[in-house]
Symmetry: C2
Subunit: 454 residues, 2 copies
Amino acid sequence: MKSQRLIEPKRLKGFRDYSPQLMALRQTIMSSMRRHASLAGFQEIGTPVLEYAEVLLGQGGDETDKEVYRFKDHGDRAVAMRFDLTVPFARYVAEHQGEMVFPFKRLQIGDVWRGENTQKGRYREFCQCDLDIIGVESMAADVEIMSSLLDVLAGVAPTPLTLAIGHRGVLSSVIHCTMPSAFAEATRNEATEAAILIAIDKLAKVGRDGVAKILSAIPGVQSGDVDALLSVVLARTPAGDSDLDVVRKAAAGDVATAAAVDRLEQMIAMVRSCARDSGHSSKVRLDLSIARGLGYYTGVVFETTLDQLPGFGSVASGGRYDGLVSRFSTRSLGGVGGSIGLDRLVAGLEELGLAHAPKTPTVFVAVATEDAGAYGFALARQLRREGLACDIGLTTGKLGNQFKHADRCGYPWVITVGSDEVKTKTFSLKQMATGEEKRHIDAADLVAEIKSRL
Amino acid sequence: MKSQRLIEPKRLKGFRDYSPQLMALRQTIMSSMRRHASLAGFQEIGTPVLEYAEVLLGQGGDETDKEVYRFKDHGDRAVAMRFDLTVPFARYVAEHQGEMVFPFKRLQIGDVWRGENTQKGRYREFCQCDLDIIGVESMAADVEIMSSLLDVLAGVAPTPLTLAIGHRGVLSSVIHCTMPSAFAEATRNEATEAAILIAIDKLAKVGRDGVAKILSAIPGVQSGDVDALLSVVLARTPAGDSDLDVVRKAAAGDVATAAAVDRLEQMIAMVRSCARDSGHSSKVRLDLSIARGLGYYTGVVFETTLDQLPGFGSVASGGRYDGLVSRFSTRSLGGVGGSIGLDRLVAGLEELGLAHAPKTPTVFVAVATEDAGAYGFALARQLRREGLACDIGLTTGKLGNQFKHADRCGYPWVITVGSDEVKTKTFSLKQMATGEEKRHIDAADLVAEIKSRL
């Protein structure tokens, strides 16, 4: 290897290393998510990172397709790295439906990849934590998903959250009721509606005027329609929710829409009541302007934000996707789910000063003389069996360096072993904060002493 | 979406889905590994799945390079998916050495990808759990790695293990002492030694005669040399270890080799003593015929096998790689580490009937009437807050189906809520195993009853 040129140890743009501090925080969050999800009856599954490209593509919309990492593998198969955990889950359900019991409540935690433009807090590799319920189309499933996500989030983010809930079905009714002329040509229906949804989704980013401009540019859309649509979508009650009475008036006479609006009102009330029962301070808001970019949503859609970080964006989002599994199977299986953006959440907690890694090193065994190596190792193993985290000096003969190392790593206790300790079958124990040192104590007293001071 | 053709929900060959049972087992194993590694002072880090191809390639040997998934990304960069966690760690160390405290004890758990031929129990995506110590070249570090790996393994695999330890340096000395003619031409040295190592590595697969044949075909190797080499490498003490006295005799007069052999003998004794101290039944064997395929090893090399599954292969392996970081940095940092093949280990435990997933569903809340939905949700949230895992029926009105579902999912308790329970503020509780049912009990009694019977 000596003759090789030096290779620059560089990382790809948009990809990061996870330091021990960051990793400890992420693991703590993931453990908490697993515990909360398991308490709510969700079962964890996993799917491969690589899938056939045709399984993944064409589901998240054109924008997403462009960002997918795809290539030909060794067998010349067109493969792609997953860009979310929802589409692979639809494939999983279609493939394994014979072995599954429905409704199936699923947890999945895993990395996903998108070659999007990198920005602050946005990475090309990031971790998602998904909760889904598949095989049931009831409102109860929507309520269970949203309230479980809030429980999971509240368990890891001790800060006020707001869950904003919209509904693709109701929004679609509003669009059709307020913009009849845009849908005059039957062939244009789906593309027009998609373009309008994408425009509405930009409200938070570009504001009412910006969206009005985008809407006006859509073929078939008239400027009077734009105002009619936006005044319904943006109508608010004094409490700040979307005003469903305005929606009812706009859809006057449309029985199906009236029923959907009633059910949405019930759903919001139940999610609120669940959040209250769970004892955390999350707020639930009805916001019909939430459309979500991904193409596969069909019913409820939602986003969750950190109240103390306005403008930071959503840390958890999702919705109902009743058509996704039917892409792979003739059996129709309704689904609803949400993803927590784990790395977004971590970035938010860091910004709020709430990112506390739980690292607690305990004991460092310094080895003063080479003949004490085995004696030190035996002690280290005994301490670990007692549940005390313990590192050991690996460079004998340089005691000062070992103390310096223990200090830099933050070990509160250092035990020294050398020829004298081996001979007397004892140990020296030093508390780093006070400098207090005890010599010639035996193993049992040592363990008792450390445990009593933890 | 209606007009789309049905896409076959197929997975790529060599990739698998992880069912809830398998995932629960993997998570249990990973948690145990994290706990044991943390007790021994290892810190967990993470690195990206994708790296610049030049960072990863040319390090594992040609065989490995051929198996690496590589492609051009959106920015036309040559990228590759990691095939192990060791090479990315060398890049990590070179990049972050300024922020790190050495020696650094590292844990990393993550998936890796190799497009190798698939066989039973071998996948193209598999999970590795790595322990490494970087920045120290002492024997103590080698001992700490091997004994920590044994501790981590013993914590998750309650079955006898054997750690077989070899040494690249000593093996290289033996090769040079017994085959002087093969190294007569200076230009041939490195390639010849690599070819001989690769041949020796095949002993378990093709036997002594097979290896002899491969060795004889290497340019410069004479048939007498082959016998001389193999008789040293395969010499065994009555206890089954490589016979170091035979090595000493073969290397007679070579002072460096004699010293290396002495140190290896000490190392084996210390690892044995650590294994004994840790209280598990692992055996430690000295086996100079272990060469390991990967090109980057420079000192000790080791493999771990399950005694009850002869022929199953190694579940954990590694070695010392003192030159790896210097590929990226002018600073020399010695390293030693090992990987546990988590999925290999799981496959082994499954074959031995030791793969027990810890899934314990507790309570299912069946919702008899639609007006009881909110009441049922409130109870579910209360039970979860009490630490009781609890699922809830999401299809109201079909009580029989909900009981059938709870039974198929294995819930031992079913609570029913309906109009009557809402009115009386009580619940009905049924124990599924006995069929015993209690009606009109309140929430506090319900929780007490379930907890008392868990």
